[in-house]
Amino acid sequence: MAWTGALTYADIDIYCFTMPRAATTTDAFNAVAEPRRRAILEVLADGERPVNDLVARLGLPQPLVSKHLRVLREVGLVDVRGAGRQRIYRLEGRSLEPIHDWVKGFERTWEQRFQLMDEVLEELKEQEEGESDDE
């Protein structure tokens, strides 16, 4: 199985963003900043694929796809294996974890606020029910 960790297809789709911290594509954050690289990851999220299959699905020139695959490989987002004359690429989900964690911290902060809002809302609902009982 190429897919490790708790990430799902939705993660890739959701956490596609730029993090312009460095000019180079030295980490996963920068690597997924490129829309065509995200498209490649999305296709690979469904399962491993040979290069020509990716080329056909994305409708991009093969040299371009190969270039992006090379970047993705350098940061560990994809891995490759040879099968006969074919080179088959697969997603390495674990490499997406830093991105996932980055967003999760922000999400947690808001969820804590919302949980307190839940308590406020419970009280407001009770007050409203109380008022309608009085009528």
Partner: protein, 166 residues
């Protein structure tokens, strides 16, 4: 008994943050909790501290100002201006982070714009908050702030464990 949702954060473009959350309450109450100073006092700081100020001048061009003392002892403040108000439905406001004395001079036209919508189905409300940032850098900074808070909480939790073990 509350069966509420869990906040979901997505980053659909380089300059946007979208937060969605379901509440087990009709939207006029969610609106009330979201815009009434005494109620904002109770939730806005989350687990990060105590709200020390919540002022809301709920009219177009009116300002809001929230402040909290974080658990670490430092003050954090935000303010903004209401741009659009449709009671119980939609709220558009700017959000400026108060960086300390002199922060009034920051270019308010560059402030992130927050559009919050409330939709109700069967007595439950989905709140969607879209933050439009002037640049990817600002967007990343906002997301980063949550990350730091998360890490701080982990440190606090670690400290508590350490104390119980002592």
């Amino acid at each position: 008994m509350t069966s509420s949702g869990t906040a979901v954060v997505t980053l659909p473009t380089q300059t946007q943050i979208v937060i969605t959350r379901d509440f087990d309450a009709p939207r006029h109450l969610v609106w009330k909790a979201y815009t009434t100073p005494e109620l904002i006092q109770r939730w806005w700081s989350g687990e990060r501290g105590e709200v020390t100020k919540a002022e809301v001048d709920l009219r177009i061009g009116g300002t809001w100002r929230y402040m909290m003392v974080a658990n670490g002892g430092f003050e954090v403040g935000f303010h903004g201006e209401f741009r659009e108000i449709v009671p119980n439905e939609r709220l558009v406001t700017t959000e400026v982070y108060d960086t300390g004395p002199g922060s009034e001079s920051v270019d308010e036209s560059m402030a992130p714009l927050i559009t919050t919508t409330f939709t109700e189905v069967d007595g439950r409300t989905t709140m969607t908050q879209v933050t439009d940032c002037p640049s990817a850098e600002v967007r990343d900074m906002i997301v980063e702030s949550g990350m730091e808070a998360g890490m701080q909480e982990s440190m606090d939790a670690l400290e508590r464990v350490a104390i119980t073990l002592a």
